[in-house]
């Protein structure tokens, strides 16, 4: 479904991605783990063309999307809940969700809204509240809910568990599992919480300073000595 091959991305003169190859197949949950600053978020943004890759190719459902403008890429069926959530703080919850449905099929708004409210009943209670006044967990729910509003075939999640209480983390991972199983949505997720992420994911990749250094099924990576030493022990 998504093939990233030989991707190099630069911020000015700094090379953030140094030739990344990975693949996400339809129906999978794939996770990308790695330390702070490894380039995980940059990869998600590069898939969406902001910034575009300077070298290499990003193929989505057989089409080369490397050079397309961001709004064209996401209209092809990719949605992202980005680093830092980036909800619109001075808009209401409902308006944020309306923004999420911009690249959706016309007429799907009400069904998708119901679906998101079913996944996150909390958002329904807060429908007219300004998003910037909500708690971190609620904002994370909103960021994921907003991404779901466009009925994407590929959902990109950047650190959905960051800064959240363990109970909320469990709830959010449960939702990711549910939408993957029930709606057959493909999920590509960046996480620092390697243990939970690898347990949830079918497959995983490990990134170190702009390169993929390891890959395997979630269980394989969980059992791997290097992964355990670097990302699991003492990490939670």
């Amino acid at each position: 479904m998504l093939t990233v091959s030989g991707v190099h991305t630069f911020y000015g003169a700094i090379e953030a991605l140094k030739g990344v190859d990975l693949e996400v197949s339809a129906g999978e949950i794939v996770t990308l783990i790695g330390a702070n600053g490894a380039g995980k978020s940059t990869l998600l943004m590069t898939i969406c063309g902001n910034p575009p890759a300077r070298a290499g190719r990003v193929i989505f459902e057989g089409e080369d999307i490397t050079r397309l403008p961001t709004f064209e890429i996401v209209r092809r069926g990719i949605a992202q809940s980005p680093e830092g959530r980036r909800i619109f703080p001075r808009m209401t919850v409902l308006e944020n969700l309306q923004m999420g449905s911009i690249s959706a099929k016309p007429g799907s708004f009400n069904t998708e809204l119901e679906r998101v409210f079913h996944l996150f009943p909390r958002l329904k209670e807060r429908i007219d509240q300004r998003a910037g006044t909500m708690s971190g967990g609620e904002q994370q729910m909103l960021a994921i809910g907003r991404a779901l509003m466009s009925q994407p075939r590929l959902l990109l999640l950047d650190e959905p568990s960051l800064g959240l209480a363990p109970l909320v983390v469990r709830q959010i991972f449960q939702v990711i599992k549910d939408i993957n199983r029930e709606q057959k949505m493909t999920v590509f997720m960046v996480e620092q919480n390697a243990f939970h992420a690898l347990k949830l994911a079918h497959r995983g990749y490990v990134m170190v300073t702009g390169k993929i250094t390891m890959s395997g099924t979630g269980a394989e990576l969980l059992a791997n000595e290097e992964v355990r030493a670097a990302y699991l022990e003492g990490g939670h």
Binding site: Q80, R86, I102, S103
Partner: protein, 305 residues
């Protein structure tokens, strides 16, 4: 009391015009964080298109006033919208990711260019326009014969402005375009990630601001009856003052600021000296910038860390 009432009417009319121009400043500032110093020139071009269209209509023999006004408004809005779009495209978009000073200088250059362009095409002399909407209501009369009047033109200006501002607020609050504009104002990267065509949204913001300035240009042409290529400067700076007074980036602020500036100018001219009315206006700008830089309704600027 009667005199006061008359000045109130004059001030409201003037304020409506400043408010319409101020919206363009505040919207552009909101969405791309720059002051579009060429905005006053857009208003001036709107005024010129009004004069030209009136002349053309006169030549072809259309003299029914409501129809004339409608045609003139539509023509002025259409043409200035094209100007607004073009200015953004060639003078600002290429500088989107440059330091903040670059588009500002480009805007000043654009402003000077447009003034000279109109001066070359239309000549430097003032263009007169005979009164198109004469007459008015007499509201009350003082013992010494002073009559409080609201002219039909003043009424038209105030009502049209209220209607436009209402419609405009609805667009911003309720439509998908308005939501996209507010989203771009808050976070352009995220708006793009959700499928908003950010460049197009910015272009449309310029188009909308320009169309409103054009309406102001038409009104001023009718109200004062003379225009020249230089009117955009002073009106632009005053509308900018209005936008800052109301809180730059805030739509209701721009409307309120425009109203304030109009009233201050009218009352100052009436009760003090007409020569110093501009000094009064710009003193307000200085005071606001010193004591309340976020304006009446603006949000305090919070530095992002």
């Amino acid at each position: 009391m009667e005199y006061f009432l008359q000045q109130l009417i004059n001030g409201l009319t003037l304020g409506a015009i400043y408010g319409l121009i101020a919206i363009g400043y505040t919207m552009v500032y909101g969405i791309i964080g720059m002051i579009n110093f060429a905005h006053g020139e857009i208003y001036m071009i709107g005024a010129f298109i009004a004069v030209i269209t009136f002349l053309v209509l006169g030549t072809v023999g259309i003299t029914w006033v409501p129809l004339m006004l409608l045609v003139v408004l539509i023509m002025a809005m259409l043409f200035t919208a094209v100007y607004g779009w073009t200015i953004e495209r060639i003078a600002y978009r290429p500088l989107r990711n440059s330091p903040r000073l670059a588009p500002l200088i480009s805007a000043i250059g654009m402003s000077i260019f447009l003034q000279n362009y109109v001066q070359l095409l239309q000549g430097a002399r003032v263009k007169p326009l005979p009164p198109v909407v004469p007459g008015g209501f007499s509201l009350m009369e003082r013992a010494d014969g002073f009559v409080v009047q609201i002219s039909y033109l003043q009424l038209t200006i105030i009502l049209l402005t209220v209607a436009l501002m209402y419609g405009f607020t609805q667009i911003i609050q309720r439509t998908e375009l308005g939501r996209a504009q507010r989203a771009c104002e808050q976070d352009k990267t995220m708006a793009g990630l959700l499928g908003v065509n950010v460049d197009r949204t910015i272009s449309l913001t310029f188009v909308m601001g320009a169309a409103l300035a054009a309406v102001a240009g038409v009104m001023v042409t009718l109200y004062y009856g003379v225009i020249d290529f230089y009117i955009g400067f002073l009106a632009g700076v005053k509308a900018f003052t209005a936008a800052v007074l109301g809180g730059i980036g805030s739509l209701p602020g721009a409307m309120l600021g425009g109203l304030f500036i109009g009233l201050i100018e009218a009352f100052w001219s009436a009760y003090f000296t007409i020569e110093y009315k501009d000094v009064a206006t710009f003193s307000i700008l200085v005071l606001v910038l010193i004591f309340r830089p976020s304006g009446l309704l603006g949000r305090p600027e919070i530095e992002k860390v």
